[in-house]
């Protein structure tokens, strides 16, 4: 996925995380278009889970420290994605299915909406 200026929060640590996550999603999109075996796809799903989990945990802790008023809603959005991801990854392991463009596009869209619309709401807390 293209990770352009519209996704830049101005919070360096989180911008770096976002770029890494977008990188994993980009690899998923490439694999879905060019083909890949189920094991490689499964590894990418797992990587997506661990990298998002680490980022969400750090981000939520930081927002809690700053008494962010929308923390609960923000956390919910994180948890909802993780639940969906756990389900996608679990199902993939059961069925051994290969790369899916629908799944890669789902994650790319989630990330775009979450960063451009949800994360942007907290950027004011981090005055430079």
């Amino acid at each position: 996925m293209d990770w352009g200026a519209e996704y830049k929060l101005g919070v360096e640590r989180f911008d770096n995380h976002h770029r890494q996550i977008a990188g994993v999603i980009g690899r998923m999109e490439d694999m879905a278009r060019q083909g890949g075996d189920p094991a490689a796809w499964s590894a990418l799903l797992d990587e997506m889970i661990s990298i998002s989990l680490a980022h969400f945990t750090e981000e939520e802790a930081e927002l809690a420290k700053k008494d962010y008023p929308e923390l609960l809603e923000h956390q919910d959005e994180h948890r909802n994605l993780l639940n969906e991801l756990f389900e996608l990854a679990g199902r993939q392991k059961e069925t051994g299915s290969g790369p899916s463009l629908e799944v890669a596009e789902f994650l790319a869209n989630w990330m775009a909406v979450h960063v451009a619309e949800t994360d942007m709401r907290y950027r004011g807390l981090f005055g430079e």
Binding site: E73, E77, N80, L81, E84, E87, V103, E105, F106, N109
Partner: protein
Amino acid sequence: MGDQYFGFTINDREFESFRELIYRESGIKLRENKKDLLRQRLNKRIRALGLSSFGEYFRIVEEDRSRKELTEMIDAVSTNVTSFFREIKHFEFLANKAIPETLARKKNGPFEFRIWSAACSSGEEPYSILFTLLEHEEFGPKWKVKMLATDISTKVLQKAMKGAYPQNKMEGMPDGLLKKYFDLEEGYYIVKPKLREMVNFRWFNLIATRFPFKHKFDVIFCRNVMIYFDKPTREELVRKFTDALAPGGYLCIGHSESLANTNHSLKYVQPTIYTK
């Protein structure tokens, strides 16, 4: 932090009882990882009601015939960020694709655009859809909007019907639309009465009811609902939506939701948008 150490605690058996009650009444399936969330959020309710334990609170919810506390509880565990034009891609899709297509499909009448905002929350979503339609160059005076907006929470429905939003919560709303569709009163932007009357707000439980609609919808929005449902409930809901859609109609779901793991007969258009 405070809650964690000084709040009321919930044991596994109590959590199970709450999960079961919430599932039965709303279709919302709380997963294991929501135990902490349930505890944090219901702590506030328990304190507000002057109760001393989760067990006591459970009895109040169960015995409340008015279902008011049940609604409060469901609200507490299913919070979402809402704002005007949230998930802007859906509104771009409406303007660039769904509206022109529907108008072309219905060029010989009936001259009605039928939309259902199935989890309308405090109204930002149905009003954003309404503005998108009214602003569309092809949506001329011969066309009528038939807009249904429903939610399981009476509390948010009341807010939606009032259509009053704090002045500082209007991010995403272009200035031109603010001036055209809102009145500013004492720090609140209020949707003009004529526009509020264009939306039919109704209480509706998506899972407990058979859909009673005579006419099919051209577009259905149901965002951030299915994420709380288990697979069978999701599949049943998507089946009912499919049935309620006109051929060529569109279903828009929330950005945290995917039908990739769900059996359905819709066609995938782009992330979170499906067509019949």
